[in-house]
């Protein structure tokens, strides 16, 4: 055979299948574009090698994996539709080698168009994305943007490989099949499925367990660990439920005669049962993807919008200086530097608090606190308590009181608003102490309910007692702290500044600089100076959240579209028969609407339920990231779901129309 005939055949094939190939090429091009943009961004020198870079390069991995799955998935749709055509060629005398050649040419065309358009689009829109990123990050620094050759080459190689893989898959499929099977291709697996009881029960159990964990976990650190278990359970359970329970549900609907035998549901219900085997996994995919999009977008938006709250939670005071090896001289120097620089910048210090403290993570067991080893801390158990010990002298200075404690006497303060008093005596690392009083207020930390780990402030007789405790801790943990000679009682100064934002920032920067130079082993933390790095992290996360969110949304939309289109082709004959028997165009339209509606909104409804149940555990996770503004998160979630639903409704409209056009 003449070799140019393959290219002509390939072009004709693509043209004839444009209803399915145009969306495929479009998706591929968009995926290429999105990959290129992120890859180019992460290679940009101005991004540096900080947390933003980490976020960006992590998401390139996500997109890489996702691209493979998405392109394979859509390709399998195309192949299924085309099996008949391939069988026809085969019967008409084209050998499998010839068909392979034709497929190769087709794939070359598809791949070069999508990769070419994708990279071109990426170069065009890369700049826009870059500006958007800068805006989100609040970077006013002059960061320049350049077209990245490395990224382009890398993208090209990656996607060429993906396309080659899908081609190999397609050829393998053709090699396996015989012509008669190929001819039947489109109408495989069409038999009423059986109800799978075991799978349905497993699904209910998995989702139930996931929900149970999500609803009952109180401790944030525990939530971090259990969250992934719960997510895996719910994901697996969702698949099981969609595969098994959906069929069971439809069969129940079918048994309810007065519901089933109505023109609106009759054809839709029976049609769905009939094809649920193929539908179920697709619907579950859509449900999981939607849930992912919604969670990702709502949390990142919430964290970004709640940045001020996060900073306030993370840094209750505007500015903090901590010295780890304090002596009289260093302490005086710190206070002097703060005073001098505040004056220079024209801001006023407010509510200065200075105190000594020592502390360690402990495990509480039957009224005794014992120093925790790493495993205890990582377990996320609710029994882990952070003890902060403060000498009575400093306590008196902070609170304006005059108390004195004996060797075995302490005051206790639990900042958790819901805590109960323990009273009596407590044991701390073997030593028994009498609790003289449990405080109701303490100016270092107000009573609140947003703590990530539990904690106690312990007021002790003097610094020496605290140092003794620290020595014990050092001995126990010396392996991990081997780079330190000892752990000492540290000295902390915290305060707020009054003045313009600009002046405050200047003062903080100057203090930070001088303390670093003049006081050894002392560190500064401040809301204003940390803000930039917070924007880098949370802004980066928001950017990626929106970016991946839109990518997943695209995938969701595409999967639904393909599903409905290929179903439309399958249903064409059925609807023609029904019209012959006396179904009017209007009834056809209505029946299609209710069928497409079920397919669309079942997964969305499931996604919304997942999110509603997961809401609490997600707020716990956000608490770990210092985000404790629950109403804000609620607003973000509701808004995100709303926007998503609007998008969804639009796609629903388009798909239903397209479906009707195919069928009618």
């Amino acid at each position: 055979m003449n070799s140019s005939i393959y290219s002509r055949l390939a072009v004709t094939n693509l043209k004839n299948n444009r209803k399915t190939y145009v969306p495929y090429i479009l998706t591929a091009a968009l995926t290429v574009m999105m990959y290129y943009i992120i890859d180019a961004l992460s290679r940009n020198d101005s991004v540096g090698r900080g947390s933003l870079w980490q976020i960006l390069s992590m998401s390139t991995v996500v997109i890489r994996v996702f691209s493979v799955i998405l392109l394979f998935y859509t390709n399998s749709f195309l192949m299924k539709r085309r099996k008949k055509e391939v069988g026809m060629y085969n019967i008409l005398g084209m050998g499998k080698a010839h068909i392979a050649k034709m497929f190769l040419v087709e794939m070359l065309i598809t791949a070069s168009v999508s990769i070419g358009a994708g990279i071109a689009g990426g170069i065009l829109f890369g700049k826009v994305m870059w500006l958007l990123l800068l805006k989100i990050l609040h970077y006013d620094v002059n960061m320049d943007f350049a077209v990245s050759g490395t990224a382009a080459v890398y993208t090209l190689v990656l996607f060429a490989a993906i396309f080659a893989l899908t081609l190999a898959y397609n050829l393998w499929q053709i090699k396996l099949a015989n012509p008669v099977e190929l001819l039947r291709g489109g109408s495989e697996g069409e038999r009423e499925p059986k109800t799978k009881r075991v799978l349905a029960i497993a699904g209910i159990a998995l989702v139930g367990y996931g929900y149970f964990v999500a609803l009952t976990t109180e401790a944030p650190l525990k939530a971090v660990q259990l969250f992934f278990v719960a997510v895996v359970c719910v994901v697996l359970g969702t698949y099981a439920l969609f595969v098994a329970a959906s069929i069971a549900l439809l069969k129940i609907l079918k048994k309810r005669k007065n519901f089933y035998y109505q023109s609106r549901y009759f054809t839709a219900v029976s049609g769905m049962i009939y094809r649920m085997k193929q539908n179920a996994v697709g619907l579950a995919n859509i449900c999981i993807l939607s849930t992912m999009v919604l969670v990702m977008v709502s949390t990142t938006i919430c964290m970004y919008m709640g940045m001020d709250d996060i900073l306030t939670t993370r840094y209750p005071r505007e500015f903090e200086v901590t010295s780890f090896y304090p002596d009289k001289e260093a302490e005086e120097k710190i206070l002097r530097i703060i005073k001098e620089e505040a004056e220079k910048a024209g801001v006023e210090e407010k509510d200065i608090m200075a105190y000594h403290s020592g502390g360690a993570a402990t495990v509480k067991k039957e009224g005794a606190f014992n120093i925790a080893v790493d495993e205890d801390v990582y377990s996320g158990s609710e029994d882990v308590y952070e003890l902060v010990m403060i000498p009575a002298e400093d306590y008196n200075a902070l609170e304006g009181k005059d108390i004195s404690l004996g060797d075995g006497e302490i005051l206790l303060y639990n900042p958790d608003a819901d805590s109960e008093k323990i009273g009596g005596t407590v044991k701390i690392q073997g030593e028994a102490y009498k609790v003289v009083e449990e405080l109701d207020t303490f100016s270092l930390e107000e009573k609140n309910s947003s703590r990530v780990i539990n904690g106690y402030y312990v007021i002790m007789k003097d610094e020496e007692l605290i140092q003794e405790f620290l020595n014990k801790a050092y001995q126990m943990l010396s392996k991990e702290y081997s780079q330190l000679d000892e752990i000492k009682v540290s000295y902390k100064v915290c305060l707020d500044f009054e003045g313009t934002k600009e002046d405050c920032r200047k003062a903080e920067a100057a203090i930070k600089k001088r303390i670093k130079e003049e006081v050894p082993q002392a560190y500064c933390d401040g809301r204003e100076i940390e803000q930039e790095s917070f924007y880098a992290v949370y802004g980066g996360l928001l950017f990626i959240g929106l970016y991946l969110g839109s990518m997943f949304l695209m995938a969701t939309v595409l999967i639904i579209y393909y599903k409905q289109i290929s179903e439309g082709y399958d249903d064409k004959e059925r609807y023609q028969i029904m019209q012959k028997v006396g179904m009017s165009k209007r009834e056809v339209k209505r029946s299609i609407r209710s069928q497409v509606l079920m397919v669309f909104f079942l997964p969305l409804a499931a996604a919304v339920v997942h999110i509603a149940v997961g809401f609490k555990v997600i707020t716990k996770l956000l608490a770990v990231l210092n985000m404790v503004n629950v109403p804000l998160f609620l607003t973000c979630t509701v808004a995100t779901v709303g926007v998503f639903a609007v998008f969804y409704a639009i796609v629903f409209g388009v798909t239903a129309r397209e479906y009707y056009r195919i069928v009618g």
Partner: protein, 255 residues
């Protein structure tokens, strides 16, 4: 009054871009009385299918009119057309046109469901018909689980369940083996005896010979008709064969 009246029906197909005009039906006239069993015969291309589509209100004639019980089909509004077909006409097709997604029972119920009937009523109507057609045992089965003859019997049940004025059958025995075809024709005869008006389009002499009257169509016109009178099926068979021979060898028109 005749149940179905076909007067001067013409149908001209025009190719989409001007071009050729094809006259599928020239001038068709005939009527069907209530409780009559009429067969229409003709070769491929004689206009049988066009005529049937017009009778079924699936297509509109270019000229002339078709009246069912005195009502002109051209005057039925587009919106009511589907309902009109459902209520007045029953269809039996060559390839059964059963839906694989429904059990036989649900396939039979389909037109009633579309009419919004209650389930109890549907059940009530189904049982006598299923008994007559001998498919009581098969109702819960799916089309792919039963034989061609059984499928066609289910299709007949679907046509009858709406109690139509007229059953239109398009080559009902076309896809059946001879045994199943005989059985179906026997059933048609029985239904006819129970008072159902049937109009059947067919190629098969055997099928046609079970009718009261046979219309022969050639080149878009009713060319000839035969009445059964007191003849047996075998005698009818012979008569039809003779007529067909005359028709195909181009005999002169005689009535």
């Amino acid at each position: 009054m005749a149940l179905l009246e076909v007067k001067n029906v013409r149908k001209i197909y025009t190719a989409r871009f001007g071009g050729n005009q094809v006259e599928a039906l020239k001038d068709v006239n005939f009527s069907v009385e209530p409780r009559e069993f009429v067969a229409i015969m003709g070769e491929s291309g004689s206009g049988k299918t066009t005529l049937l589509n017009i009778l079924a209100a699936l297509d509109k004639p270019t000229g002339g009119k078709v009246c069912l019980k005195g009502r002109d089909l051209a005057h039925v509004k587009e919106r009511e057309l589907a309902a009109f077909r459902r209520q007045n006409l029953g269809f039996v097709f060559q390839d059964f046109n059963l839906l694989d997604t429904f059990s036989l029972k649900d396939n039979i119920f389909l037109p009633l469901v579309l009419s919004g009937k209650k389930y109890d009523e549907m059940e009530k109507r189904l049982m006598p018909i299923a008994r007559t057609l001998g498919i009581e045992e098969l109702l819960e089965k799916y089309p792919y689980e039963v034989s061609g003859g059984q499928k066609q019997r289910a299709a007949v049940a679907r046509a009858l369940i709406t109690k139509p004025q007229l059953v239109l059958a398009d080559e009902p025995t076309g896809a059946l083996d001879s045994k199943a075809a005989d059985e179906l024709l026997r059933l048609f005869g029985q239904i006819h005896e129970d008072g159902q008006t049937i109009l059947m389009v067919t190629h098969s002499v055997k099928a046609a010979s079970s009718a009261d009257r046979i219309l022969f169509i050639k080149d878009g016109e009713v060319f000839h008709q035969l009445y059964r009178g007191n003849l047996s099926n075998e005698q009818m068979y012979q008569k039809i064969s003779d007529t067909l021979t005359v028709l195909t060898t181009g005999g002169a028109r005689h009535e």
